[in-house]
Subunit: 348 residues, 2 copies
DNA sequence: CTGTTAGCGCCTTCAC
DNA sequence: GTGAAGGCGCTAACAG
């Protein structure tokens, strides 16, 4: 294709500013400014004149100048672990939609499951002037909260509820979710379990979901066997590899619990490749109830976590705080087991 | 949970600014500023002193002030059709990662398949000071380009290549992709086809992909039968519904081409529910080669579109332009047919 | 209801 | 190599 030489912006044609608008409308810049921010306090006739001028000049306010002067950017930041696999996409989408309807823009960044990166990108977002922040999960570098404190920046943690009460949070009980799922499998007659999870470090969802499995097993006098805990980065391939490891065990599990649907589907693939039938030879469960899992054959038993509601509630929470309204410090939303064909009693 | 009353920011503890840094370091604000922007021009010893002060005060530059003064925000905007179904997630992810490594932040918005909304959110992004923009697709409101022109804002279109040469673009040939897929199916012996696509209005991908199907059929002396074109919003449910409609036709298709994997998987679900075997009773194909399709049973035949490469290249394109470097006006990237179990010759 | 005025925090000429 | 000073575009006091 053709290469373009690039004499960057030789003629910086000036955008019209408020002064231009004011001049054209025959008012002061203060009045023009009020037409934008406090239209109710203007004489309807002057308001019309200013608006006409704005339209004529195709004036668009200068956000940076506004932010500098008013200390309000109408930008809200969010940091998600990753954009991949759509795990966080629905929360992000709901967050963006809700903020948009309140007139706020969402500035998004990823931390790639690394808490240092999280601090770094948060600093960037604060530098860019975001007024509030949303994070995924409860595990964060202490430095993050110092930074947020210095900026006096309201924030909310999501996808979990902070038991300590130190941080505002909106989420669900990850531990209870897998506890319920594990109990269900025990009820079906399973006694030997495999667990596939992401590394715990900096990932409270993985840790709490794994703890839920262990707790439920313990409550029934069971425990995870030797070699039955597999960890890896969240991907289909890692899920498959973990399942292959589990299948090679002497006393292999009859049920495998994955801490998310991606691992679970990866595990399903490995079972298919090994010629095992699901659920007769192996029960498999996920968490998050994604389309990826729901559309498998058989459908993946999973847990519907309220991730859309979390996004919406987070937006509401932050906007309420920014506008000086009362708000809920933390919200615990319900989850729900979704039973599909990937689970059954173990073969005799 | 507990409700919090919210006396918004009674004590606005002032963040340290450059003057504070300069004072502590015993230099002028100009020198402190240079320590940030032109460290090479400073005496190494003064540079150290200023940096020490920055560290001590935990100084973070004020982005809005910087932007206002320098006309550079180091923010780049992107508008995607939707966050759902992860169709655009990998492009977005690649874009964000590449921009991040160049020191730019990504500001993201969704247009929900509506070109008026696209203009609206773009205006917001420009107002917030983004220096460049990326869009998905070739179809846009003319007003969008007027706006970008007024702001002298570099932009690039993605997921397609603009044949007219009017706009910089990075993408692939959507028409050729489905042309190749359709030819493959004709080669397998199929003669009656169904087509499931998104509405064409404002969606060039849907239109071009559909055109590719028609063109390939025409090249073989075939055509889409009556009632064999089904359109709907992109969702699994719409794909299923479209397939049910196709199945109810008198002379029903033996192969169904969907313009994306989401529709295709929806169609697979409908076939399963109707008791049809894939591929014996029905061949189905998608586009985009998502995990959703790849993990179905049987795996979905699809087209690997270079969407990650597109995100990376778009980031590179925009950064090159912003930094005054030469750049490619447009880039055509290759696609690739991925044959899996969802396609076969029709049953006799 | 409207105008005047004084910066918000920073960068960037222009001197030295 | 460094300092002094002006102003980017806008809003919030304060007058009137």
């Amino acid at each position: 294709m053709r290469a373009i030489r690039n004499p960057r912006r030789p003629t910086q044609r000036a955008r019209p500013n408020l002064k231009d608008v004011a001049q054209l409308a025959g008012v002061s810049t203060a009045t023009a400014s009020r037409a934008l921010n406090l239209p109710a306090r203007l004489d309807p006739e002057t308001l019309t004149r200013v608006r006409e001028a704005i339209r004529k000049l195709r004036y668009v306010p200068h956000g940076a100048a506004r932010t500098l002067r008013s200390q309000r950017s109408r930008m809200i930041g969010a940091v998600v672990p990753s954009f991949d696999y759509a795990l966080y996409a629905r929360t992000t989408s709901a967050l963006q939609a809700a903020l948009d309807s309140e007139g706020y823009a969402l500035v998004l960044a990823a931390q790639h499951y690394d808490l240092d990166t999280e601090v770094r990108v948060t600093r960037q977002l604060l530098e860019h002037g975001v007024e509030a922040m949303a994070f995924v999960g409860l595990d964060h570098d202490p430095e993050l909260f110092v930074l947020l404190g210095e900026f006096d920046c309201p924030y909310v943690l999501t996808w979990g509820v902070d038991g300590s009460g130190a941080h505002p949070s909106i989420g669900f009980d990850n531990r209870a979710a897998t506890y319920a799922m594990t109990s269900h499998l025990v009820g079906l007659g399973h006694r030997r379990f495999g667990l596939i999870t992401a590394p715990f470090d900096g990932n409270d969802r993985a840790r709490d979901r794994s703890a839920g499995v262990r707790a439920a097993l313990a409550a029934h006098g069971l425990a995870l066997g030797e070699g039955c805990l597999r960890q890896g980065p969240i991907s289909l391939a890692a899920g498959s590899e973990a399942m292959r490891d589990l299948l090679s065990l002497d006393d292999r599990p009859t049920a495998v619990i994955a801490t998310n649907d991606v691992f679970a589907v990866g595990a399903m693939i490995a079972c298919r490749e090994a010629g095992l039938r699901i659920p007769e030879d192996m029960s498999i469960t996920g968490v998050d109830n994604t389309d990826l899992g729901a559309t498998q054959t058989p459908g993946l038993t999973s847990i519907r976590t309220p991730i859309i509601e979390v996004g919406r509630a987070a937006a509401h929470h932050l906007v309420q705080r920014l506008e000086g309204q009362a708000f809920e410090f933390s919200q615990l939303l319900p989850f729900e087991l979704v039973l599909r064909g990937s689970t059954s009693p173990p073969s005799p």
